[in-house]
Each structure stands twice: as C-alpha cells, then as structure tokens.
C-alpha cells in the first residue's frame, strides 16, 4: 500500500515541477516582452521605421532607424543564402550519400557541435581577420560572411537532427522504384521541409539579433547601403548605440528598435510556418 502511495506522490511532484518550470519560463518571457512593449511603444512612431537617423538623432533629435532595419534584413538574407547553400547539401550528403557509420560524418558532426558553442565575438574577430586578409573593409559583404559563419552550425545541426530521424523506409522505397539518388533527395526534401524551416528560423533568430559578429565586420552607417562594399547598420548595434546615449528619449527609442527587431522575427516566423505547412501538407 505504501509503495502505491509513493507512486502517486511521485506523479504529483513531477507534475508540479513541470508546471512550475513552464510558469517560470513563460513569466521571464512575458517580462522581457512586457518591458520592451512598455518602454518601446511610446517611442515607436512611423518616423522610426521610415526615416534615416538625421543629424543629432542620438542626442534626441528627429529621425528613425530605417538604416538599421534595411541593413539587418540585407545582412540576414545574404548570410542565410550562403549558409543554406552550404549546409543543406552537406546535411543531405552525410545523411543520404555516406554510410550511416562513416568516420567523416562523425568528424563533421563533432566539429559543428564545437562551432555551435563558439561565442559570436570570435566569429566577428575571425571574420575581421579574414577581411583583412582579403583586403575588404568593414562592409555589408564582410558582415554577411561573418554572420553566415555564425548561423551555419546552428542550421546544419538542427537540420541534421531532422534528417537523421527520417524513416529509412522512405529512401529505400524511392530507390526500389528505380529513382536516382538525386530524384530521391528531391522527394526527401519535401518530407524534411518543416525541419528545414525550423532550422532556418533558429538561424535567422540568432543571426539577426547578434551584435558582436557585426561589430567589426559590417561597421555602422546612418545610410542605407547600396552595394556590398559599403558598411551597413544593423538593429542590434543601433540598439546598443541608442542605449549608450545619456538622453532618456533616445534610450526609449532603443526599446522601440528592439520592438521592431522582435516584430521582424515574428513576421518571419509566422510566414515561414505558413509556407512550410502549405508545402508539406502531404507529409507522411
């Protein structure tokens, strides 16, 4: 009888633990979002998203952060493209071309696990060193390359985890129908689409919000870059500079910029989920 009682106690305690952790995570999350909303909403205006910072913007005069919004979007599109083109073929190769227990595969996974944990400032410094070597100055291009380095391990590892879980029946079924490996990959990609979207979202979330990587590499400017060789402003750095201002109004604008950044990620997230569910409705 006592044992039976213990069983039920165990069940209760574990349930309470789970509820507690859910509540604490949610409250921290809402606290952050609440702070951004509370401090940012008053500073948010149409000017913020449509105007470039004018002279004296950082001292409380007129202007907006359009330079940083456009810069961040450019940057993330560029680095996402690079890392997509590099990591997707890599994941497909190690999962569907190489044998399951290949040494090469474990080396790749291991190195990406390490890269995963490298602090973003190191990628910034590495990107900077690479730029010095190539003779590029702080520019959109430099930022794109550095951020691509940063998000590639995230994308590769999260997509890889999904690819590993694919039932092996599917490749076998396709091959036995006489499909070539490439034809097989095309069908498998459909099945993996939601996983790929999650990987992209994780990567974008990390890449668009990171300040340290772009500090040396992308530079900062009050204008919108029109070529890859020009420096580009980014939202995280813009927030950083505004927060550093002694003027309270500018500090509030920093929160408004953070709100814009959150908004961009939210829009990206919802649209990605929408398209993913649209294209994978036949998922098995």
């Amino acid at each position: 009888m006592a044992i039976k009682n213990l069983k039920y106690q165990e069940e209760k305690i574990f349930k309470i633990l789970m509820i507690l952790s859910a509540i604490s995570i949610m409250s921290i999350l809402f606290h952050i979002i609440g702070t951004i909303l509370y401090k940012g909403l008053p500073g948010l205006s149409w000017d913020m998203v449509t105007k470039l910072p004018g002279g004296g913007f950082y001292l409380g005069k007129e202007g907006g952060v359009l330079n940083a919004i456009v810069g961040s979007v450019y940057l993330i599109i560029g680095s996402l493209t690079i890392s997509l083109f590099l990591s997707v073929p890599l994941v497909l190769y190690i999962n569907f071309y190489l044998p399951v227990k290949s040494v090469f595969t474990s080396i790749i996974r291991f190195s990406f696990d390490i890269l995963f944990g490298v602090p973003s400032i190191v990628y910034g410094a590495f990107g900077f060193a690479l730029m010095m070597f190539l003779g590029i100055r702080a520019s959109l291009m430099g930022g794109i390359i550095a951020v691509a380095f940063l998000i590639m391990p995230i994308m590769m590892r999260s997509f890889d985890e999904v690819a590993r879980l694919l039932p092996r029946d599917l490749p076998d079924a396709l091959l036995s129908l006489g499909a070539t490996k490439y034809e097989m990959i095309k069908v498998i990609l459909r099945q993996l689409m939601p996983g790929l979207v999650t990987a992209i979202l994780l990567a974008v979330g990390r890449g668009i919000g990171d300040a340290a990587t772009v500090l040396f590499t992308a530079g900062y400017t009050d204008n919108i870059p029109v070529s890859l060789n020009q420096p580009a402003a980014t939202l995280p750095l813009s927030i950083f500079f505004q927060l550093g201002s002694p003027v309270e109004e500018v500090q509030n604008r920093a929160y408004a910029s953070a709100l814009i950044l959150t908004g961009i990620i939210l829009v990206l997230s919802f649209s990605a989920r929408y398209f993913s569910s649209k294209y994978s409705k036949n998922k098995i």
């Binding site: 044998p99 036995s176 070539t180 069908v187």
Partner: protein, 277 residues
C-alpha cells in the same frame, strides 16, 4: 502539373482498365541464382545459394528469423548497393543477364523488380502523385498517359473506388491496408517483370492481408512473384513453390504440395512441425 480534380480524371476513363496491357515479356523471363555468397562485414549471411525461380508463379521463401530470406530478396534488386561492407560473390541471372556483372545499370534492374516492403511507405505526396511518381521519373510526360496509368493501377489493386473522391489528398490519410495496396499500385506502375514482397502482409490486419494475397494470386498470371514470409499458413495458401532457408543456406525447395506433404530434410520436418521458428 495543374490540379486535376477527381471529376476530370474520371473523364479519362475511356475504357475498362481492369485488364492490364503488359508489354511483351523478353524471350527469356527468369531468375536464376548461381553460387551466391553474401557477406555483411565478417558475417557470412548467404552460403552457396543455387536457385532457379519459376516464372509466372508465386515462390515463397520461408525460414526462421535471421536465416537470410530478406538478404536474398535484396540481392535481387541490388538494394545491397546502398549498404556499405556488403560483399557479394556469385551470379544472379535476371533474364539471362548477370545483374552483378559489368556494365549493368542498377536503375534498369530496379525497374524490373516491383518491391513491396514490410510496412507500407507512401511517398510524401498525394495519392495520385504516389502512383504517378514511378512513371514520371522514368520519362512519362503526357498528362493523359499519366492519368490513365494511375487510374489503371489503382483499379487493378482495387483502390480506385475507395480513393477517387480524394485522389489529391495526402497518401498518409489512407488506412495502413490501403497504403499497402497503394504501394503495390505504385510498384506496378513502373511496369516491372517481377514482384518482390518482403513480408508484405506482416503489418496488416487479416482482411487487408487477404486482399493483398488475392492480389498476388492475380499477379502471378502475368508476373513472377517472389515473397518472403514467415507465416507458414500464408505460404501454404498462396505459394506454388517453396524455398526453405536456414542459417543462410537453402535446405529444401520444391512445389508447395510436395514440400508440405512430403518434406525430405529433417530440418524441414522439424520446422514444419513447429520445433523451431
């Protein structure tokens, strides 16, 4: 490909497709295996297999788990190519051509073999596209021809009336028995000469199993069917020839009746009497 509804599909139903118009079989239509040895790593999985599979009949490969039945089946469509450290020695002649010889196109071999796996694995596409997939990758382009093929094979496996209203919906919405018949239709649509079944009914309920078995009986009029099964009763019900394997060797093979009524080897007798399984 534009979205064709079920309505426009049925307009294509110009004639009764119940009779499958098979292309002419090659003069020699047979599988014969000579001195086949298969190693996976250091394990000798198949040992000196010599076997001729009679055409247009059902051959059931039976034997206890791990005896190499599935490995033998996989050598027939060269699916071992996908696994590393498999070594294959010997010859497998399909239509008088050694499929392990030089200058063999694996795709051609796999096209000749329609495989029905243990568990149905529909492709992540609609019911229609599942059947159309094979013909499409093998070069069928005309929409009308594709429609015709899909309807023909769905009818052949008796699925057409069940799915015609939802031909554009996901194949995973079908029940598992329907999925298995869909996989059969998908395999038939590439116009194979041989049907391989790897315990094709072991995941199914009795009614679906019966449907698939009836399918095999119908198929043997036109195809050579090779099944791996571990239910003796199934072998008894549908097989024309039995191959009994044990520990990677063929112990005994012969016509079903003779095999069950008058087994020659002691191991066979023990297996049939249920001493081991």
């Amino acid at each position: 490909m534009k979205n064709i509804g079920a309505a426009s599909l049925s307009e294509n139903r110009v004639s009764d497709y119940n009779e499958i118009t098979l292309r002419k079989l090659p003069a020699s239509h047979s599988i014969s295996i000579r001195d086949l040895n298969v190693f996976i790593g250091n394990n000798h999985i198949l040992n000196d297999i010599n076997l001729t599979i009679p055409e247009k009949s059902i051959t059931c490969i039976i034997g206890p788990s791990g005896c190499g039945k599935s490995t033998l089946l996989k050598t027939l469509n060269r699916m071992h190519d996908e696994t590393p450290d498999v070594r294959i020695e010997g010859e497998v002649y399909v239509d008088d051509e050694n499929i392990y010889g030089n200058n063999i196109n694996v795709i051609d071999i796999r096209k000749k073999m329609g495989l029905l796996a243990q568990r149905p694995c529909p492709l992540p596409m609609s019911i229609f596209d599942n059947v159309a997939y094979g013909p499409r990758i093998h070069g069928l382009k005309k929409r009308k021809a594709i429609n015709q093929t899909v309807i023909q094979y769905l009818q052949y496996v008796g699925l057409w009336d069940e799915v015609r209203e939802r031909i554009r919906t996901s194949a995973s919405s079908l029940s598992i028995g329907q999925q298995q018949r869909l996989c059969l239709a998908r395999g038939l649509a590439i116009e194979p000469e041989y049907i391989l079944g790897d315990e094709a009914t072991s995941a199914l309920d009795p009614i679906s199993t019966r449907k698939i078995e009836e399918m095999f009986l119908k198929l043997k009029e036109k195809y050579t069917v090779i099944l791996v099964t571990h239910t003796l009763r199934q072998a008894k019900r549908i097989a024309d020839h039995i191959v009994f394997m044990y520990m990677g060797r063929i112990i005994e093979s012969g016509p079903t009746e003779e095999f069950f009524n008058n087994p020659k080897d002691k191991l066979t007798k023990d297996y049939l009497s249920g001493s081991f399984s």
